[in-house]
Subunit: 345 residues, 2 copies
């Protein structure tokens, strides 16, 4: 599984020894000064700091980590950086880790289980203090690695499933259901779905499942659907909307699996003089801030991204009020933001 690494050799960098020599203080005392540990007299302290600064000494965390058996790294493993949702999760994580001495390290899987396995393995090989990882579905090997890691694991974004350890997220099935109920209640009946063609986006799948289940409970179903992969999501939203509305002109609602394609759909409808939300209603998902800038506010559902990042970080950092670092499950409540694209009744 591990690839053959052949990185360049380091040029020799400064060691504690160099600072020790330059300051005339033992390595151990230098180490203490640099870590603010134990009692060191003022003058000694100053001399050490001066020497370290003058030399431009940067501690070697590799040696430090090996000796102390502690690593100030938290692995954060996410599927993508390019869809506006995960950067916000990272913001939440960073905020909380800021003053803990812990450092987030990001790994990206591109929604590929194989990449996830590899990224996880690489991360674990650095013996991080905790892992924050998106989703609950993964390969048996990846799950085994998480189970055996012996560190706090927080699976984020989703709570529809069984976490290895802790979980912080929303129920995407319930989110889909909730949206369907709001749509039906608003009087829409002929409903189309537009989404991504990503077999590994389990959260989008669960939203659709919940959505369809709720429709079925009302004797309704998704009348037509469109899927895309790759390219500009905004453009795809336009194109798919054109396609689906041409094929099924009597649709009165378009549910999009994310805000970006929802925005594309909205722009297409407005361009074509379609009465939104009178003739056609629209909704997206995620609650990205982009929707606030559209000609009218796209209905969406907040995925609680910032909050998820924060709560997950609190768990691995041991910052919860109850101090728990494992076995915590937090289900957040996504809020429906009806905006201007769902008819008020």
């Amino acid at each position: 599984m591990a690839k053959d690494p052949a990185p360049a050799l380091q040029r020799r960098t400064l060691t504690l020894r160099d600072v020790s020599d330059a300051s005339g203080v033992s390595e151990m005392t230098v180490s203490r000064v640099l870590r603010n540990r134990g009692d060191v007299s003022g003058p000694t302290r100053e001399r050490v700091l001066a020497a370290a600064r003058a030399l431009g000494y940067v501690p070697n965390r590799i040696a430090g980590a090996l000796a102390s058996q502690r690593v100030n790294l938290v692995a954060v493993i996410i599927p993508s950086l390019s869809n506006m949702v995960f950067p916000e999760v990272l913001t939440g994580v960073s905020e909380v880790l800021e003053d803990t001495g812990l450092q987030p390290v990001v790994g990206v899987t591109n929604y590929s289980p194989e990449r996830e396995e590899k990224v996880l393995y690489e991360m674990l090989s650095w013996r991080p203090s905790g892992i924050i990882i998106a989703g609950l579905e993964r390969s048996p090997a990846a799950r085994a690695m998480l189970e055996n890691a012996g560190i706090p694991i927080v699976e984020i974004m989703d709570v529809d499933g069984t976490p290895v350890d802790s979980a912080v997220g929303i129920s995407h099935r319930r989110a889909g259901r909730k949206m369907a109920e709001a749509i039906v209640q608003a009087g829409y009946r002929r409903i189309g779905f537009l989404g991504t063609m990503m077999p590994h986006d389990h959260r989008a799948r669960k939203r659709l499942e919940g959505f369809e289940a709720a429709l079925a409970a009302q004797g309704l179903q998704v009348e037509d659907r469109e899927f895309y992969s790759g390219g500009s999501a905004l453009l795809k939203g336009r194109e798919m909307t054109e396609a689906i509305m041409t094929r099924s002109p009597d649709l009165d609602f378009l549910y999009h699996s994310n805000d970006m394609i929802g925005a594309g759909g909205l722009l297409w409808c407005l361009n074509h003089g379609i009465d939104v939300p009178g003739k056609v209603g629209l909704a997206g998902f995620n609650g990205v801030e982009l929707v606030q800038g559209l000609p009218c506010r796209l209905a969406t559902m907040d995925a609680c991204r910032l909050e998820i990042g924060r709560r997950a970080a609190e768990i691995v950092a041991g910052k919860r009020p109850d101090g728990a670092t494992s076995g915590v499950v937090i289900e957040l409540e996504p809020k429906l933001e009806p905006g201007d694209t769902i008819r008020r009744i």
Copy 2:
């Protein structure tokens, strides 16, 4: 400068020794098998791999790195993850590092020189094999760290300045100039500027400088300007456009410092029935794929993000045809994409 770290203690994880015991092969041979190094007989090899897999052994890179004095990490330090431009740089970096055994590790500075210093220090403490870092402007301390690191350094995005070692980017001054020239040549004369209020976004500043210089050369100047910070860029684009067009209704061109606010401006103009590009021309910057999905294609200038990521990674990975890993300076040529928002003449 280093904060006091207090991460959790590791639970003991498996060591080479455990695999050695389980397979009845010496630690040394186990190590060789796991790294595909040296000659190991087929049967021995199998036994070791079987044992490692059965136990779920994950090598300890910390110990490995300390012993071998090599680290397969490349630090990538960028100002932000939330503005669509850096994720694409990262994609380019990852692509190239993919099959080199090197791993990118991302640090985010939020355009703060202090954070940059801290992130850089943290990164260096892990003794990475190379550094890819955005921009050429930084604190003297940060510059000193880069100079003394003794590893390949690639400063990216910008070439208007003096790199510590290597640089890959575009000239933002020239980009601004080029845009101004195109605008003037298209016949626009009363030009407004909309941008971010970020004193540390040196590239945006340089673009504006180049832009104004080119206008001045034609006896023109920026007639009015608006700045924003924070919030939804798309919404800010709308709001700023409304503000500037209300205050200076005779403006005939709006130059935006990025595509997102440009898109907001475009949507505002279209909503208000303003003839684009007849009455008012518009342009953004970056060439993000979002612009393809707008009602009409916003003029923009490709910032060569993917290419920058790739070329930078090639340098640190020693993958250039000439094998150079230092002192390489590559200036890429940003392409003007006139779209539909600059009048054709």
